[in-house]
């Protein structure tokens, strides 16, 4: 098993979030907002979708050495699951469900003559003897059978859940949000099952310029999006929390210095700061090629650096919020009482202030997630995002620009990136909204 840097950090992140969720669940005063989220069908359905994405991302984060390749190439669990897609490369573009290539070329016929026509694809629809007549029926059959198997699986699970006789759990199943969760799960599982079973015979989302399956690319891109959205917060949180709370609590010169730091960072346009740092990383990498000999390690380091830099540029907003909140909290009676009792400042910060600003931290983390995923695409477009060899939605969109100008239009790469990105960001936005509604005291009172 190979553990890349981002992999290790992802494991750390998963552990942290599980611990945090467990901690939240135990806090008495956090129960009410958590229950409010659990009662909202939209929030729970989008959380389910997010967890499905996270599962794919996690499967893509477990790397090990490829058994049958000679080099030091690492494959992930997702690569193994998508083995057929990964190996079924064509020569160049092909449309979704196509059996013929995108461009005409000279074909050698059996009798020795040549013909100028669209070639058959090597893998897409290769099992069809006569594509013109069989194609529509075959696609329909395969879709139906894949869907019915996936749906059947889910129905069985649903039946098992429904048959559960325990009275308390039965009440739980009947609530609107659990129905939403089951509906979302049903759609995702049966949809995935259909696409996966189809992709053994066809390229469901077509192939790109070098003939790589686009569906495989989008699946791989999920990890990049999630890493950018989540690891950045891992970088940003310590900075924002420590500086924000300290500035608000100690006031005086500490406050001045911290305010100075974040105004300075804020005043540099963040895109330029990111660009400058990425340029530096690139120069460093070209000057020290011995540390980055492996392509995967190189791409991984760049992804990690991008998260670091994004974290450094984005902690200031949360820091300012935390500072303002701490300024309010430090005048509260319980903090004054703790001070009067002689509790050390560090202890006050940790025991009394930190738990009371946690809701702000939580809200801003979920709110930032979607904007970071969107930012990745923009940064990749300016060439200061992830490594060009990394699969990411940004890189797919970037290449799609030229593809849209082709004739006939190559629309499938862009559409695939659009659909997946939209699903992830929409789910994140909806979930973030309900988290904010539940945890923000001002909004909680209003409703």
């Amino acid at each position: 098993m190979i553990v890349l840097w981002t992999d290790a950090l992802i494991y750390l992140l998963v552990v942290t979030s599980v611990v945090f969720a467990w901690y939240l669940g135990r806090q008495q005063h956090m129960r009410r907002p958590l229950k409010k989220i659990a009662a909202s069908p939209v929030a729970m359905a989008s959380l389910t979708l997010l967890l499905c994405f996270a599962l794919i991302g996690l499967a893509d984060s477990i790397h090990f050495k490829d058994g049958d390749s000679r080099g030091n190439e690492a494959v992930s669990l997702l690569d193994v699951a998508c083995d057929t897609m990964r190996k079924h490369g064509e020569k160049t573009y092909s449309a979704p469900f196509a059996v013929h290539g995108y461009a005409k070329e000279t074909l050698a016929l059996d009798d020795g003559s040549t013909r100028w026509d669209y070639p058959r694809l090597q893998y897409g629809g290769a099992h069809l003897a006569d594509p013109e007549t069989e194609w529509a029926g075959d696609v329909f059959d395969k879709t139906l059978s894949g869907f019915s198997r996936g749906a059947g699986l889910m129905l069985m699970v649903l039946l098992l859940a429904w048959g559960d006789q325990h009275e308390r759990r039965r009440v739980l199943w009947r609530s609107a949000s659990s129905k939403a969760v089951w509906a979302a799960l049903f759609l995702v599982v049966s949809g995935c099952y259909t696409l996966f079973s189809l992709s053994a015979y066809y390229h469901v989302l077509g192939t790109d310029k070098v003939g790589e399956d686009v569906f495989y690319q989008t699946l791989k891109s999920i990890r990049t999006g999630l890493v950018i959205g989540s690891l950045t917060t891992l970088v940003m949180l310590p900075l924002a929390i420590v500086f924000g709370i300290m500035a608000g609590f100690f006031k005086g010169w500490v406050d001045d210095v911290i305010q100075f730091i974040y105004t300075t960072l804020n005043s540099i346009p963040s895109v330029l700061l990111i660009a400058a740092s990425i340029l530096m990383v690139q120069v460093y990498m070209t000057n020290h090629p011995e540390n980055f000999n492996n392509l995967l390690v190189r791409a991984d380091m760049r992804l990690l650096f991008l998260c670091l830099i994004l974290g450094v540029t984005s902690w200031t907003g949360l820091c300012r919020l935390l500072r303002a909140e701490t300024l309010k909290l430090r005048e509260m009676e319980y903090v004054l009482a703790a001070q009067a009792l002689g509790v050390k400042p560090a202890m006050i910060l940790f025991r009394h202030i930190l738990p009371n600003v946690m809701h702000i931290v939580l809200i801003s983390v979920v709110l930032d997630f979607s904007s970071l995923v969107l930012a990745e695409a923009v940064l990749s477009y300016i060439n200061i995002g992830v490594d060009p060899t990394t699969h990411s939605w940004g890189n797919m969109i970037n290449s799609a620009r030229l593809e849209m100008a082709r004739e006939p239009v190559v629309w499938w790469s862009l559409t695939a990136a659009f659909v997946f990105m939209f699903a992830l960001v929409l789910a994140a936005n909806l979930f973030a909204d309900s988290v904010r509604d539940a945890f923000d005291p001002r909004r909680a009172q209003a409703s």
Binding site: F260, T263, T264, N266, S267, I268, P269, V271, L272, L273, A275, A276, S277, L279, M280, V283, Y284, T286, N287, S370, L374, A377, V378, Y381, I382, N383, I384, W393, I397, A400, R401, M404, A405, V409, L414, F418, M421, F422, V425, L426, N429, L430, D433, A446
Partner: protein, 325 residues
Amino acid sequence: MITYIIRRFLYALPLLMAVNVLTFVLFFVVNSPDDMARMQLGQKHVTEQAIQNWKHQHGYDLPLLWNGGQAGGKQLTDTIFYQKSVNLFLFDFGISDSGRNIGTDIRQRMWPSLALALPSLIVGLLVNITLALLMVLFRNTYVELGSSVLCVMLMSVSSLFYIIGGQFLIGKLLKLVPISGYDSGLAALKFLILPVIISVVAGIGSGARWYRTLFLEEVEKDYVRTARAKGLTETQVLFKHVLKNAMIPILTGVVVVLPLLFMGSLIMESFFSIPGLGSYTIDAINRQDFAIVRSMVFLGSVLYIAGLLLTDISYTLVDPRVRLS
């Protein structure tokens, strides 16, 4: 008031100094001038002499911070830090790594940037505020629910999709306006229509939602209840009273970004090949021209700080309750 502004100016100086030092550290300490020379001249077949020549030509052959070889004040001034950074304070941006005068370039490219950014801002503001007011007017109905959902969906689409989709639909399929390009004078108008429309549409989701929350906060307040009790209609209340009071946060939010409009929009300008500062920056990033990127970083921070100052001043102008001290 005057003393306050002067104090803010004095406070801006250390900030700019810090920005300067930070960019200097980023650009010169992490990679040496030798690396930069190699990057500009190409990785292979570069003689030591060529590198020395390049460094001398661009003034990178001095020590970084302290020149021990010189006497007196020259120990400080004859260094890369002094030569390259202090001149920025006088807005003397020097020569780019590819040999062009950065100051002239910036002055030239500022106007196309502004021609795109200003209409986008104004039209976007009008559209967003109108939509938000309508959403508040129809609050607690299906209209509001539907439009909220629509806003979230619009927000979840990457701005790149709006641009590519808009270019494809309006430029390529319908052939209403040219896909990209720029012209001087009034002829630029037909090139600017599409980018302005797209940037307005791309901003509707988050913008309308943001203004809606502002208006909703105002609608709860006492003066609104008084106005209703007086017998005013809901539209009169919204457009006369709520809008006026909500103008304060809206206005200050706009004033912050006003100076930054000069910097242009990176993505828009490069997609539509408008020769503004945004595409200038992107080109510099792609060519790895550090001198330009450094100047743009400095210019950006100056404008940001100017924006902060303008915000504070505009607060006092629109809201007499706020006193600066």
